[in-house]
């Protein structure tokens, strides 16, 4: 099944520098984690203060940031200084330390998810930290910790809008995580493994050749129906339009974020962006052949970036164009529509795979 995956990044470090000991493993893992974390933080740093504004502006006939630096890029450090320099307002009556833990938990949970994501190669480096046998289950588990953080924030803020936002977050995540995972399981039936390198490896074959172009056997092409289901559930999971209901600024003024300012506010936003990128990463691993793409294996990191940012662009597009559904409609779509469809998809896939294989 495809070529053997390249060596994981920490193992590569251990081999290259000959530090084959427990201490060596720890150091190598830490270096690897720092690299991955910095890549993701850099993504978010570009996305939050700059790319998001530029993309939204392009959709809405505006120009957006262009005053400092080339293309306004220096807004990124400027925004960082500005946001961190703001006063951290702690409202009376908030439930500490829950109130303080929530904004840390959100980005942390999303970052953890990246530990098992294969991010492609830069030259000989394969940016992939760990590849446990239950990788896919693990990444969903990490991603869903986020809703705990939202509930904590909503409940601990002692604000009615935050409270409503927290409740909405729970209701929404319950309604969409089940279809999300059930749909992902249909892919597992194809791949026959939960290990992420296995899922990616199963998508490397050629599905068909059209006019000289090889179309790879990405699960998005193999089962487009599951792809659309997964994409929709993923939008709800990361809380973007049309499912940005837990925040819904025009209804509940930011929901669980209402009482947060300064660094905590930044952490929440960071968490949201990392979560979008994690959503994109999961989507590319499960349906878009991971980091694979045309060209040599050694530049596949570029394809990873393209896919993840493509998903980010998609979320921004949806935000500029699509109305927000109402909370009761969302629950209805989740439980009555998506859940049924995702189980139908699972059963059908199992039958087809069982008959053919």
């Amino acid at each position: 099944m495809g070529t053997a995956p390249a060596q994981l990044f920490p193992e590569y470090l251990v081999d290259t520098f000959g530090i084959d000991s427990v201490l060596g493993d720890v150091v190598a893992s830490l270096i690897g984690a720092a690299l991955v974390a910095n890549i993701i933080l850099a993504f978010s740093g570009v996305a939050g203060p700059w790319a998001k504004r530029k993309i939204t502006a392009a959709f809405t006939d505006r120009i957006a940031v262009d005053r400092i630096g080339p293309f306004g890029l220096l807004i990124i450090p400027a925004a960082a200084v500005q946001l961190l320099a703001k006063e951290l307002i702690v409202p009376e009556g908030v439930d500490r330390p829950t109130w303080d833990i929530a904004p840390i938990l959100l980005p942390a949970s999303a970052m953890l998810g990246f530990s098992v994501i294969p991010m492609g190669q830069i030259g000989p480096l394969n940016i992939h930290l760990a590849d446990p046998e239950v990788g896919l289950a693990l990444v969903f588990a990490f991603a869903s910790i986020a809703s705990v953080s939202l509930v904590m924030a909503g409940y601990a803020s002692n604000n009615k809008y935050s409270f409503l936002g927290g409740l909405r977050a729970v209701a929404q995540n319950l309604a969409y995580e089940i279809p999300l995972i059930v749909t992902a399981m249909s892919v597992v039936i194809f791949a026959g493994t939960l290990q992420i390198s296995g899922v990616v490896g199963a998508q490397t074959e050629t599905l068909a050749t059209v006019a000289g172009f090889d179309i790879p056997a990405w699960f998005a092409f193999v089962n487009p129906f599951a792809f659309v289901l997964f994409l929709t559930a993923n939008m709800a999971e990361i809380g973007r339009n049309p499912f940005d209901i837990p925040e819904a600024p025009t209804e509940i003024v930011g929901g669980y974020q209402t009482e947060y300012s300064s660094a905590y506010f930044v952490l929440f936003y960071l968490g949201e962006f990392v979560h979008i990128f994690l959503g994109g990463a999961i989507l590319s691993v499960v349906f878009l052949g991971g980091a694979s793409g045309p060209g040599p294996e050694s530049i596949s990191f570029i394809w990873f970036v393209v896919k993840v940012w493509g998903f980010f662009l998609f979320t921004q597009w949806a935000r500029a164009a699509i109305p927000r559904v109402r909370i009761d409609q969302l629950i209805e779509i989740g439980w009555k529509g998506m859940l049924v469809l995702s189980f139908a998809n699972l059963v059908l896939t199992a039958v087809i795979v069982g008959v053919i294989a």
Binding site: N241, T250, I252, R324
Partner: protein, 554 residues
Amino acid sequence: MSLERPDTVDDGAVERTPDELEALLGDLVVDRDDHLNAPGFVIRPDTVQETLSVLKEQAGYDHLSVVSAQEYENRYESIYHLKKYDDPTQEVSVVVPADKDDPVSESAEPVFRTADWHEREAYDLIGIEYDDHPDLRRILLPETWQGHPLSMDYDKDRPQIATLPEHANPLQDHHKDEESDTMFLNIGPHHPATHGVLHLKTVLDGEQVVDVEPDIGYLHRSEEQMAQNGTYRHQIMPYPDRWDYISAGLLNEWAYARAAEDLADIEVPEYAQVIRTMGAEMCRIAAHMLALATFALDINGDFTATFMYAINDRERVQNLLEDLTGQRLMFNYFRLGGVVWDLPEPRDEFFSKTRDFLDQLPESIEEYHNLITSNEIFQMRTIDTGVLPPEVAKNYGATGPVARGSGVDYDLRRDDPYGYYDELDWDVITEDGCDNFSRLLVRMREVEESAKIIEQCVDLLEDWPEDERNIQANVPRTLRPDDDTEIYRAVEAAKGELGIYIRADGTDKPARFKIRSPCFSNLQTLPEMANGEYIPDVVAALGSLDIVLGEVDR
């Protein structure tokens, strides 16, 4: 012809002469006090409900436009200005004097729901107490206010203390029982969806709204009193721009111009009427574009492209208005007897700019239909939410797109013609959905009708002979309408019937200047639309009402 009345004849449409009405009311009438616009019947303060019921049920006066109250040297007086939705030129005023020392008058609320807020305002500003009123509290001023600002003995130097009760939950006990538990939520006065400084006292049961009560007055700027301190000729005209300040300025100015011109018997030259009509419709487009933009904001979320697109289109019409009037928002363009100056030179350039705008407008409207009205999620959100049945709308005195979205075929431009409207070819838009979607659709289609009107006006203006371009009638430098003449006149502003009641006392300033704000009456319907629905529906319903707090609070 589009301007003809539809052929609906019922008892209410039969026009009665004032004497027939007096006969119908019989002993209820104690005196006559005719106004310039309508016959006025003076009645005793304890027969208000009976009189209004007779007029509503038997004579078909189903629209209580406004309640204007004032204090005289020897009495207080409330005037109920009644009209018919089927034919607003049939008007009647019910004049209710109240005792100077003990101003108590019967409330009209059981007959017309809309009287609720109007009488509260009269109580708040003038000091008349309404017997049998369900909730006689102050409405514009804080509850702790001392004195009534428009009464004669008001001491304006007295220090006032306004308190803010924290975490009030006035309805807690009403809605708390063993099965359900409610939460009181203050929406506003600072909230992204209140479109200004509106405060909604909301009681929630989970995500559902049990009760919502609008609390207004945060933008009260004593506009009526300021107008009473200005001279008719020049000093009042700048104020109307500041009521509905969402670029509906010319429409507001026309309300004052129409009332004052009829009061002082001023004839406006035809050429000026065409310019007025064109400018007013430009304002309507600008106002409806903003309504569309903010409604998309409420439904889609803050970063929707529709908002910026609509603001872009509004910007184009705003530029035209700037060329015409020299101002972008506070136009001050109308004068009694005409307009302040002629079209900008070179005229051809102005006409071609206007035509360019009109040419690209259908394309924009098409885009909005693609973006929002034909979007399934948008339809899911707005169709059958915020339902306002036509009878309820009439009972609350709703007008404008809110009434027309409920199928009430009422538009003063056609039904009580003024300006140049009856010479032009255009249609009144109504939708029968009664929901948030219908109200939006009415506005979008009205933009198209306004474009038709502007186009015809441009055609007329282009061919107007140069020596007949008379922009202002000869109006005396100082206007002193006769003592004790009263008039109520309304125009179709962006949000509905914007009316002005003026009582002259022989001086060059009005003795009483009352503004009938369409938003004020329309906002009253919010609880009818929102109770029992979800929070997002309240936001949508409020957006579809398209209120401007500057006009609600005045």
